[in-house]
Structures are given as C-alpha cells and as structure tokens.
Symmetry: C7
Amino acid sequence: MQPQYQMGYDRAITVFSPDGRLYQVEYAREAVKRGTTAVGIKCSEGVILLVDKRVSSRLLEPSSIEKIYKIDEHIGVASSGLVGDARLLVDRARVEAQINRVTYDESIDVESLAKKICDHMQVYTQFGGARPYGTALLIAGISEGEVRLFETDPSGTLLEYKATGIGIGRPAAMKIFEEEYDPAMTISGAVHLGLKALHAATEGKFDVGTVEIGVIETQNPVFRKMEPAEVKAFVDEVEFSPSETGADQGE
Amino acid sequence: MQPQYQMGYDRAITVFSPDGRLYQVEYAREAVKRGTTAVGIKCSEGVILLVDKRVSSRLLEPSSIEKIYKIDEHIGVASSGLVGDARLLVDRARVEAQINRVTYDESIDVESLAKKICDHMQVYTQFGGARPYGTALLIAGISEGEVRLFETDPSGTLLEYKATGIGIGRPAAMKIFEEEYDPAMTISGAVHLGLKALHAATEGKFDVGTVEIGVIETQNPVFRKMEPAEVKAFVDEVEFSPSETGADQGE
Amino acid sequence: MQPQYQMGYDRAITVFSPDGRLYQVEYAREAVKRGTTAVGIKCSEGVILLVDKRVSSRLLEPSSIEKIYKIDEHIGVASSGLVGDARLLVDRARVEAQINRVTYDESIDVESLAKKICDHMQVYTQFGGARPYGTALLIAGISEGEVRLFETDPSGTLLEYKATGIGIGRPAAMKIFEEEYDPAMTISGAVHLGLKALHAATEGKFDVGTVEIGVIETQNPVFRKMEPAEVKAFVDEVEFSPSETGADQGE
Amino acid sequence: MQPQYQMGYDRAITVFSPDGRLYQVEYAREAVKRGTTAVGIKCSEGVILLVDKRVSSRLLEPSSIEKIYKIDEHIGVASSGLVGDARLLVDRARVEAQINRVTYDESIDVESLAKKICDHMQVYTQFGGARPYGTALLIAGISEGEVRLFETDPSGTLLEYKATGIGIGRPAAMKIFEEEYDPAMTISGAVHLGLKALHAATEGKFDVGTVEIGVIETQNPVFRKMEPAEVKAFVDEVEFSPSETGADQGE
Amino acid sequence: MQPQYQMGYDRAITVFSPDGRLYQVEYAREAVKRGTTAVGIKCSEGVILLVDKRVSSRLLEPSSIEKIYKIDEHIGVASSGLVGDARLLVDRARVEAQINRVTYDESIDVESLAKKICDHMQVYTQFGGARPYGTALLIAGISEGEVRLFETDPSGTLLEYKATGIGIGRPAAMKIFEEEYDPAMTISGAVHLGLKALHAATEGKFDVGTVEIGVIETQNPVFRKMEPAEVKAFVDEVEFSPSETGADQGE
Amino acid sequence: MQPQYQMGYDRAITVFSPDGRLYQVEYAREAVKRGTTAVGIKCSEGVILLVDKRVSSRLLEPSSIEKIYKIDEHIGVASSGLVGDARLLVDRARVEAQINRVTYDESIDVESLAKKICDHMQVYTQFGGARPYGTALLIAGISEGEVRLFETDPSGTLLEYKATGIGIGRPAAMKIFEEEYDPAMTISGAVHLGLKALHAATEGKFDVGTVEIGVIETQNPVFRKMEPAEVKAFVDEVEFSPSETGADQGE
Amino acid sequence: MQPQYQMGYDRAITVFSPDGRLYQVEYAREAVKRGTTAVGIKCSEGVILLVDKRVSSRLLEPSSIEKIYKIDEHIGVASSGLVGDARLLVDRARVEAQINRVTYDESIDVESLAKKICDHMQVYTQFGGARPYGTALLIAGISEGEVRLFETDPSGTLLEYKATGIGIGRPAAMKIFEEEYDPAMTISGAVHLGLKALHAATEGKFDVGTVEIGVIETQNPVFRKMEPAEVKAFVDEVEFSPSETGADQGE
C-alpha cells in the first residue's frame, strides 16, 4: 500500500499530482499507520477508547506514554502517529473547549470541537511552509445525551464511527469490529471487544500492563481514564484464542 | 483525459505552460473527478440536490458523511472532491451569508454568494504558497422567486445549469440529463431523474440507504434536507433498468 | 506560433530570457488565444462589443456565461481567456470607476480606467509569487463625446483600435476588419460587420442564440447589453457566405 | 551580441556570474534592444525627442501608441522596451515631479529627477522577488536655462548625451550622430538629423505618419509634443538617400 | 543504523517520505548520537544526572564544558548533541520557570516545564525556514515530593524513565541499566551505577577528572552540582572491571 | 584569476563553499575588476583621488560620468564597478554624514563613515534575497588634521592605504605605487604619480580630457573636484614613457 | 580535513546531513581556518591576545588591519576569519556591554558577554535566509578578579581555554602551547610564548612589525593594546630557532 516515488509531485503540500492526489497528505497518513493502535467503541451505555502503549523497556515509566487525553469534562481523545504532533492538537482542543466555556458559559459540542480540530489540520494540507500533521485522533464524548465517536486524519477529514481504530493495527481491529460489533453492548462488553481487537492488532504480542482505557458513560457523562486495577480486572476476564489474532496489520 | 508529466510546468500554480494552461488547476479538477457524485436539478417547483454518500462500512455513521450543507435559509450546497476543502468553503459561504444579513438586513442573493466563493477560489489559482481548492460545489437556492443552480470548479469558474453533476459520475449523469431533462418536471419528477442519474453514475452499485437529498421549493423558499423516510419513499418509487447504467463515468 | 521548451527561462515571471523575453507573459497570452472570440468596433454612432459564448450544452443557462460586463454608465468590457481572472479585473474596474465618482463627483475617463487596469496587470509581470493574468479585455466607452475602444493584454500593454478582436478567432476577425472596416458605419453596419467577423472566427460554426452584444451610442452615452430579440433581429439580417469563413484562426 | 546559456548564473537578479556580470540585467537590456527606436538631440535652441511608433495596422489608433510623455512643464521622456514598464516609470517620474513642486514650491531639477528614476531602477537589479525594468528612457528637459538629455537603462546607469538613441535602431542612429552631429544646430536642424537617424534605424522602412516629436526650447522652456502638421512639415523637408540607411541595427 | 540517501525526501522538515518518516528529524537524532554521553537515574532518595565531559586538551578549562545546568531551585538538566542548541533550550527553560514563578508565585511543575520545552522543539519539526534542534535533554527534578526524570529528543517526544542515557554511549549505558537498575538504590548507589554506565559508554576511556554530577534529593529538593571533591570520592569508591565495558556504543 | 564553475556553491550569498569561501562575494569583486580605474594617494599636504572616465563617444557629456563624489565638506569618494550600486552607496554616505551633523553638531569622522558604509555592505554578504554590492570605493578625507584614505570592497572589508587603486587597472597602478610612492610628496607630486599610474593602468590609451581629480588639503580641509583647466595643467606637465605602461592590468 | 561534495546536504543551514552534521557550519569553520592566526594566553598576572596582521604591502596602513578590539574597559577580543563579520560581532559585543552598564550600572561579566555573542551566532546556524558567521573570536577579560579567556566558533559553541589559537596557524600554535604552557608565567613570559606560537604558525615568515598585542592585568584590570615600541621590545627579546617552526598549520 506504500506509494512509490512520484516524479516530484510528492515533495510539497502545495502541489497536486496529475491524478489529483496530494501525496504529502498520503505520506502523513503513513506516519499514522506506523503508530501504536488505538480503538474506540460506542455502546449502549457510552463510548470507550483503548490504546496499547507498547512499552519497550522496563526502565520507561508507562505513565509517561500518554495516548489518551481528557480534553474537557465530557470529551476524551486517543491519538496515533507522531507524538509531538498529537500533543499540539490536544492542547489546541483543550483551548478550544475552554474558549467555548468562557464565551458561551457551556461545554462545547463534541462535533463542533472535532470540526475545529479538522479545520486546523486542513490548513496544513493547503498552504506551504509547513507539513501536514502526522497524527490521527479518535474523539469520544457525550453532548446533550448523545454518544459521539469521531475519527480525524491528516487531511482534515472527519468521520463518525460506531467502532473504529487507528494506527498500525487498524486493519486487524476493523476486521474484529465488522464481525462482532453490536451497538447493544454494555461498557463491559465494549471493553472486552476492544481488548480483543487490540490483541489481534498486536498479533498476540499483547501486554496487559500497558493497556490504557478511557470511558464516558451516558449515566454520568464525565470522561475518565480507568485505574490500572480496573483495567486489569477487565483484561483478566478475557481469554484470547489464537484464532483471534489478525495477520494483516503489518501494512 | 488524465494529463501526462508536463516538463515541470505543472509544479506550481504561478506558472503557465507554453500553451497557456495552468496544470495545477487541471490536476485539482482531477481531485474533483475522483470525488463522490452529486447532482443538481432545477424544476418547475424549485431545485434539488442529490448525493450518493458511498458508505463503505457498516461501522460508519452515515450522518457524518456530510455532502449537502445548508448555507442560509434559502441556499444549500452539495460538494465533491476533497472533504476538508469543502468544509472550509462551506464555512466561508455561511459567513458571507451572515455578513450580508448583518450589513444589509436581508438575505444574500444566490448569485452574489456564488461569485464570492468563486473569487475566493480564483485567488488560489493565481498566487503561490498554497494549492487550488480540490473541490467543486453545486450551489442551489431561490432569490426573489428565481430558482438558481450554480456550479463552481477549482479554477473559480462559475456557470449556471438547468441540471448538472460533479464528481466521478458526472459523465454518466450528464448523459441522462441531456436525454431526459425537462424543465416542466415537478420536484417529484426531478428527484426521480436525479436518482436515475446517481444510479447510472455508480454503475448500478446504488445504495439506497445513503442517498441524501436537499430541496428548496418556490412555494416555501427554505432549503432543507429530506428526512430518510422521505428519501426512501422516493427511492422505492423508482425502478432501475440495467440499460440506464452509464459505462463511461470512470474517467 | 507556440513557443518551445525554453531551457528554464520560462518558469518564472521574474526571469528574462537571454533574448529579453518574458516567457510567462507570452504563455499567458496563449491562455487568451484559447479563449472565446470577442470583437469591438468603433463606428460613426458609437462603439459595439460582440462575443460568441460557445454554449456547449443545452443544460447550461446561457445567461451565466458572462463575457460582456457593464463597468459604469459609460463603459463596457468584453473579455477572453481565464474566466475567473476576467471576473477579478471586472470587479477591480468597477471599484475604480466608483472611487472616481466618489472622489471627483464625475465619471471616470475611459482611458484613465484602462490605464489603471493595465498598471494592475503589469505588476503581475514584474513581481514573483503570482502569475500574470491569463485574460485580455476590450474596453469600450464614451468620455466627453469621444468614442474609445481599448485592448489590454496580459503584459499590461494598452492599445486603442478602430476595430479589433481577442481570443481564438482574432486572426480571422482581424482579416475581415482590415478588408471591410469603414469608420463611417452606423451601429447597424458595425453589428453586421461584427457578426461577420464572429462567423469567420468560428469557421462557420456560428450559434446565433449565444451571441451577446454590448453597445454605447454617442447620442445616449449609456452602455447597455442588447436584448436577445434585438440581437436576433440583427443576426437574421446577415447572410454568411462560405468564403467569409476564416481558416487561420487556429493559431 | 546575444548572450548564450550561462550555466544558471543568469536565472536570478541576486546572483553574480563568475566574471562579475548580472545576466538578468543584460537580458533586460535585450528587451530594450527589441523596442522601437527613439532618439534625443540637444541643439543650440533646446532639445528634441523623436520616436518611430511602428504602427502595424490601419485599425490601430496611432495616438494610443504613446512613446513620448510629458513629465512636468519642463521635462519630457521617450521610452523603448516593455510598454507596461515604461508607463510605470513615467507615472513614477510624474509623481516625483509633483512631490518636488509641493515640497519645495519649485520645479524639479532634470538631473535630480533622472537620478531618482535610476535609483528606483537599481533596486530591481539588487533585490530578489522581482525582475529588472525592461525599458530605457531618454529624459529631456531644461533646468535653470541648461539643456539636459539623459539616458537610463535597466541597470540604473545614468548618462548624459549630446545626441543618443535607444531601441532596435540605436546602432544605426548613433552612426549618423557620430558623423553628423553639430551642437550649433537649430531645432529645425536637429529634427532633420533626428528624422535621418530614424530613417536609417528602420532600414528605410520609414513611416512618416507615425513619427512623434517632442521639443523643449530655451526661449520658452515648456515641453510639448509637436502637432501632426508640424511633424509632417519637417518630414516633407527631408530627402532620404539610400546610402543613409543603416545596415547594422539588427543586433 | 545511519540512513542512506533518500531520494530528496530528507532535505526539508516540511516533507514526509513515502513511508511517513521525517528524515530531517531522524538526522537531528544522529547529531545527538554523536554527542557526549549523559545519564540520569531515579533512586529512592532522589534523582541524579551524570555526564562525561570528554575534555580533549589540558589547555581547556573543564568548567567551561557545561553539560549539566540548573534550571530552577528544583530542576536540573543534562544535554547531549549540538552545544549551541542546548544552551538555547536551557535559556528557554529558565525563562519558562521564572515566568511561572512570577505569574503563579510558585515553582513550575517538572512535567509542565518538560512539555513546554518539547512543544517548542516540535514546532521546528513542522515548519520550514529552520532546522530541528540537534540536541536531547534529560530533565530531572522534584515536584510536590515526586521524583521525575524526563528525556526529550529532537522530535519533541517526551518520555519519563527510571534510568536512561543520551548521546554516543546510550546503548552501552542502557544495557547496564536494564541489567542492574534497582529503584531502591540510595543516591550513593545510583552514582555508582551511573559511573559504571559512563565507564561502559566510553569503552573504558574514562576520565575521572571530567565527570560532572547533578543531584536533587527528596529530603532537600534543591538541585545542585556536586563539588569536584565529592565527585572524586565517589569515583574512587568504584572499581571498573574490564567486562563492564560496553562494545556497541559506536552506533 | 577568474573562478571556475563551483558545483553550485556559488549561486547564493547564504552558502559557504566546502573550503569556506563565499563565491558570490568573489564574483562581485570581479564586477569591480571590470570597472574603470580609480586611484587614491596620500601625501604630505593632503590626499587626492584620480579616475579615468573612459568616455567612449564624443556624443557623451563627460560630466555625466561621475566617478568622484563629494560626501561632506571634508570627505570625497571615488568608485569603481557597477555605477548604480555606487550611486546608492554615495547617497547613503551623504545621509550618514548629515545625520552626524544634525545629531552631534559636528562633521563625521572619516573612519566612522567608512565603517558605516562597510557594515552596510557586509549585510549583503550574509543575508539572502539580495546580491552583494558590485562596487568598491576609495574614501578620502581629513578628520582632526589627520589625512585618511580608505578602500572598501564588496565583502565589507575596510583597509587604509597610503596609495591604492581599484578597478581594471589596479595591478598596473599598484606596481607604480610600490616602486615610486613617497609619503613626502606634495599634492603636485601626488597628482603626477596618480596620472602616471592611470596611464599605466590604461596601457597608454590615456585620454587626458576625461581624467577627474578630487583633492583635499590639510591647509584647507575642504574636498573639491579640480577644474578641467587645473587638471589639464597637471596633465601637460607629465611626460609618459612607454616603459611606464603596465601590461598586466587585464586580469 | 576539507569536506568533499556532500550530495546537497551541505547547501543550506536548515538541513542536517544523514549523519547529523551541519555542513554549512563546518564550511564556515573553514573560513576561520583560512584567517590570520590569533592566540590568547592566560597567565599569573592576567591574559594576553596576540595576532599576526599579515600586512601584504608597504602601501597599506598597518593600523587599519584591526584584529584586536577593545570591547569594554575590562574586555578585549581578537578575531580570525571574515573581516566584515568580525566587525559586526565586535559592534554587537560593544552594544551588549553598554546595555549592561546602563541597565545595571556595572560592567558586564566576561562570561555573560561571551554567551550573548554565542547565542547570536547560534541563531545563524538554525534559521534559513542567512549564512553562519565565518569568524571566530577570542574573548579575554577580567571579572571580579577572575581572568577569563573564551573562544567562540561559527556554531556558537563557547569554550574557555588556558591558552588557545584560532586561524590558519592554530595547529602549530596549539602544539607549542601543549608542550610549553605554564599557568605560572608572567605577562612577559606569556608574550614570549605567544610570539613563539605566532612564529611557528607562520612557518617562520614572521613579520615583527605587524604583531599586535592586547593585554589586561589583574593589578589594573583595564584592557589595552600595547604600543608598537612595547611590542618591539618584546619581539627583540625573543630568539626563534628553526625547530620551533610548525609544519602542519596548512590544514
């Protein structure tokens, strides 16, 4: 799926290729495809985000590999791709949320926030002097009782999913979701499905200790990261069969 | 129809080719030709916009693939091409409409709005540092009782049509319109014709569930998107014969 | 007449070729040569502008292909070349005319306006970061009783003609004018000559329905576009012989 | 005399060649050498400027080919090279003259004005982002009783001549002047010499009807363009022998 | 591990390679890999930083090779890579710390400071006109009783470690830490481990006289550089066996 | 002495060559070497500047070839190289001198002025977007009784000489000075030596009529250009032997 | 030691090479290596700076070849490399010193000043649009009784030495210092050592008349340049043996 050398049409964001493609945006998507896997799942009780933090050394503090961020009381985000880019977008999202609170004295609508982030990302696909963001975000939240789960990509495209994944394991995770997703799941069921997807996305090299889970429930629409113990309890409940391991996530 | 490598005259918007062409604008048009199909049809009772949203996965929320946008009470827009670019143009159109309301205390003329959008798009074909917009718009509305349907393209050209299409299925749709368009049609007749065009544009791979229809009627000049049920009722009325499938939309 | 690949001297407006030419300006002129034909003719009673709008589809609203524009009470313009560029120049001309009215409380002199437009176009032939305008204009008007007809081109050169043409059919039209132009013609005679020139310019593929005519008369120095009926009356009067068809307009 | 391809040292005004030349300035001079011929001659009674306007078509209004411009009461200018560039320099010269009047309540010194124009032209030979002016000027005037005749070129060099020429016919004209110039000539004698030079410069293809003459006399130091009749009277007086035709102006 | 020539995708920070990499950032990391070794170690009593200053000549004043900097009362930094870049980042860190004191009347949180530095470094990986920082930092400090040890790199990535190293000897140092690190160590034990790591990192070419040690203890959370005598005492305690010498730090 | 094509290191002022040279500055020096010869000589009574104006045509007014300029009462300048550049530097020098008068109510020190000019020239050797000045200056003057003679070059280097030359004839002139210069000379002796140097510099093609001489004497420290008669008197006194003609000035 | 052509990684300061080097900075160092030799030596009584001014002609005023500059009462600087660049840095240093006096009413610390200069130089190694400084400085001074001797280079690196050299003769000078430097030397001994080093650096082509010496003593911490007589006295004391001539300074 990796594009070939494209006769120079791929060297600048301000240049279309003869077939109307923006190669630099496509290359930025490749940076996302090299990132750690993150998945998001809507369910009957709310929406969850799961990431596998891929901690490579026992000397690393797992808490410092932040892949799930709280944006506002009712919104959380998971990222994949360039870490520094993600941090910038998260900061921007937090500021936008605060501006909304200060200006209108109410929390920002999840979709409005997602659009603002995407508009910002689009600018980096049209103007020279900078590169596109090499990061994708899953934006999960609840506005006026409605559960939302958006996915952005480096082009500034915004789509809403019932369940989706970003990063290196996206193909494996999506295969699981296409087959097994059920909107009637509880939070617990969604977490089980998400862990299964992450397990498939990592070809079974699943490290329980570094899964991070974010959740927001309709009952109590406040986004929170689960405590390690809570995560561990879920992980212990799941049994992974060898057949659940995806084989095509290496793209 | 795809241009070949052009000795470097095609790398920047600020460079004419020896035969007076702006290749980057032509390449941006290719981005539109790769987009989803949208059609617009004027009729005796008003004007309609139809798009096929091409929902590729059951996990995707179809509502998030927005291709028809309400700009102001009396104006709607359908887009094809780069999604992020379209969103930007739509935002700009909405702001222009609001500025007109605030400044003159009346709704903006459909043609004035279309020209403002085109002037903005033209700038990106003359100045360096950015790329042209990779998007086309159908702008439909009613001003002072007159039904209008404009089409823009990345060069900033503005044309008014009785019926037209943009995106990958434009050739197939135009063939249908050339043969069957009748200005005396009712809204209902226009929707039937539009569905037929979309059906041809997709080579029969028509997904009823993801057609989106926008409409504004002379009787009640307020642009609205039809409810899914309303759309479904229309779709159920139409029968598609195999012979109506266009074969040349792949250009 | 089309220039060949010029060793890179033709890639930027800020670069002279070794023989002192600005290739980008010459390439912009090629964009004009690819445009629709427009002609202007001075006569004893005033000055007229004629364009052939080349409407390619019955679905297109001919009124939306604007090639003749009223600039001020006493000035009209016909354009050929890039449509978006022409619209920008026309807007600029209208603003200049209004500024003159507001500042000096009188209508702008036709030549002053033409020079302002040309000065603006010249800037795009000397400074980098943008391309020259790919459009030519015929500027017709009456100031202090004097009938004026100017032609601009992408270099910002300004010339006044008794009769002239721009666009793809210029050579054929000029051949007609060189042979048959007579300054003593009436408006009616000028229109006949203009139609003959357009007919030759289109190699006989003349579409009566899409000719647009602008006129300003010394008697009543107000520029106006003729009504379709008025145009049709003129067209019906003219008989086109095959020999009047130009054969060299393809340059 | 035309420079060859220079290994890329000739692509930007900000780059010296290894032998210390600025090729872009030299190429701009080539643009002047392709221009129409203009000559200037000081004499005992004042100074004159003559140009051959090379009117190529009977449809063209000769008055619109302006090559001699009045700058201020006491200063006139003749140009050769890019027409749009000349118009800009002339506008600048007029503004400088007016600024002097307003600021010091007296007319600008001819040499001061010429230096200001040259300083402006020099900037375009040192800074990137623009090209040099492709035009040369002859600046003629009288300050404090002294007759002045300056020549500028694209490099911003300023020289004063007794008699000189610019444009395609410069070599032929200079040959005439070197042989026949006499500072004791009257205006009438100077015009005769100038016409002879123009005749040589055009290889005998001399068109009497399109010669334009500007003059300023010490007696009445007001620059004026001669009326066509006045010009014709002079032309009628001169007899051109074949041997006076220059043969080397094609450089 | 050194990347090869990459078809031009590696010449600008604003260009992604086809596989989504930013080569200029990776090359900046190579500048860090060529730097002197610095290590940081958290322990039960606080956190330490050690650097080997590689003094190449007896004529050099060792004190002028600054590799450990005090940022604020409670924060210190060790650097590796381009010296001038490090000094700039250190200055920036000091200013950020002061701004926090002045604005909130309290000392800056270690993690907040580290993020601010990383955000600054990220900007140089996204915008053209400058190069990324060719430096890495170890940021050690204590906020609200918590011991922190962060590592930044040219991409603006921020990670927290229990023990880590930067510069040419990182691989050798990390091998020691993976095998022998124990969070229960005292400051004294940590210094011993750090010296062992530096010894391995320099392939035994260890110069006791130029080791610099920074320390901050939980008991008295003030960052300080150890006096030479204090350093010497530690060094004298350690015995280096040949087998502890790393052999792969040359990468 | 002319540098060869240098693998592209010579195309921009912002690029050093691998051996630490700035080729664009060296090429600018070549522009000076192509200029007319100017010499400056300090003597017991003051300092003089001489230039050979190389008047190429009897039609040229020699007075317009200005190569010696008065900057302030006590300072004069001779230039060689690009004429337009010299005029700019001279204007700048005059303004600096006036600023000093206005600010401190005293005349500017010769060395201070020379440094200011050089600092200005240096900027054009370090920043992109412009080229270095293609001109050298001899700056002669008297401050507080001290006779000064500075030479600048395109790099912004400033040196003081007892006697020196710039332009095409520098080698020939310097050979004369090395052999014959005597600081005890009178003004008259210095002029004789300068004329001899100019004679050698022009390989004997010496044109008495176009020598220009500037002088400032300790007795009356006011810089002035000598009257033509005064110059002629000096020239008449000198006899040029063939052996004094330099043969190596063609470099 | 001269780098080879580096596949284009060496054309801009904003580009790292694949092995993490900034070639433009290294090339700027080559400019320093081509400069005249300057040495600095700390001793028991203060610190001295010595330069060999390489006066190439008897016509040159040696005083105008300034290589040692007084910055403030207590600080002096010696430079090597591009002369114009050095002058700029010296001016900047003087301004920084004055700013400190005005702002804090005390003289600037030598190290603070050196850092400010280096920070300024670093900027030119990170941002495009300019080149790095092609100059190195030795900064000598006394702050609060402490004798300081810093060396800067084009990268903005700052090191303090007991004795060091810059310019073409650095290797030869450093060899002398490594062998013979003794911190207990008196000023007189230091001057003797410095002269020996310069002698070696010039391969014996030592010109006594153009040595310049700057000195600041702890007793009277005011930087001054020695009078020529004082310098001559020192030079006369030293005897140079052939064996002291370095042979490797040509690098």
